[in-house]
């Protein structure tokens, strides 16, 4: 199946692109994609450890199973300013 990953903020700068389509096995979970990104781009480690994730624009746990056509985003900490 194919999923769409979009990159923002520090993650976007580290991977050097705004989005990509990824072909993954049918049983893939969010955490599997995270592992895959980390293996491919080790400098993501620090920020991914601090990120939460969203599938189809909703916050979800990393154990969430992905489906064909899903949009996945890792969301680094927000909340600048006070």
């Amino acid at each position: 199946m194919e999923i769409r990953i979009r990159y923002f903020a520090s993650i976007r700068e580290i991977v050097g692109q705004t989005e990509e389509l990824l072909t993954v096995p049918a049983t893939t979970r969010v955490t599997d994609v995270r592992d895959l990104l980390l293996a491919r781009t080790p400098p993501l480690q620090l920020v991914l450890e601090r990120s939460v994730c969203a599938v189809n624009r909703r916050y979800v746990p990393v154990e969430t199973a992905l489906h064909d056509g899903d949009e996945l985003v890792f969301i680094p900490p927000t909340g600048g300013g006070s």
Binding site: R6, F8, A9, S10, R12, R50, A54, R57, R58, V73, I75, P76, P77, T78, G79, G80, G81, S82
Partner: protein
């Protein structure tokens, strides 16, 4: 009324937002405006760069306003957030809440900005004299 939610690269228009929530039934309008400061954590800030996951940010802001409407009975609110490059003194966010009485408007406005900072996917990068930093809350 349907809340006004705006994400834009253009300068924010405070007067237009206030006009949009104004109504004869309204007794108080509270506005919060976040502006770009020239210093942070001892550094001299040149400018800020905001990045936004626009579609999700709009959804999250809609949820926050709906919560505020439930809790304080406010009926008229507008939230505008700018992204892209912002210079010192420019407004990054404007929240306008109107209600029949002031207490609810103050509390709802405070709730909306505080919650927005923690749950809405909008990020801020400080570009300072000694480098760039994505700010984490």
């Amino acid at each position: 009324m349907e809340p006004i939610i705006l994400l834009t690269r253009e300068p924010l228009n405070r007067d237009a937002l206030i006009a949009a929530v104004s109504h004869p039934s309204i007794g108080g309008i509270v506005t919060f405006e976040g502006v770009v400061r020239d210093n942070a954590r001892g550094k001299q800030v040149h400018y800020l760069e905001y990045d936004a996951y626009e579609e999700m940010a709009v959804q999250q802001i809609r949820t926050i306003i709906a919560d505020a409407e439930q809790r304080w009975g406010i009926e008229r609110a507008a939230v505008a957030h700018r992204f892209g490059r912002l210079e010192i003194g420019e407004a990054s966010v404007i929240i306008v809440v109107a209600s029949p009485h002031r207490a609810e408007a103050f509390e709802a406005c405070r709730y909306i900005i505080d919650t927005l900072k923690t749950t809405v996917p909008i990020w801020k990068k400080e570009v300072a004299t000694n480098g760039e930093t994505w700010v984490e809350g």
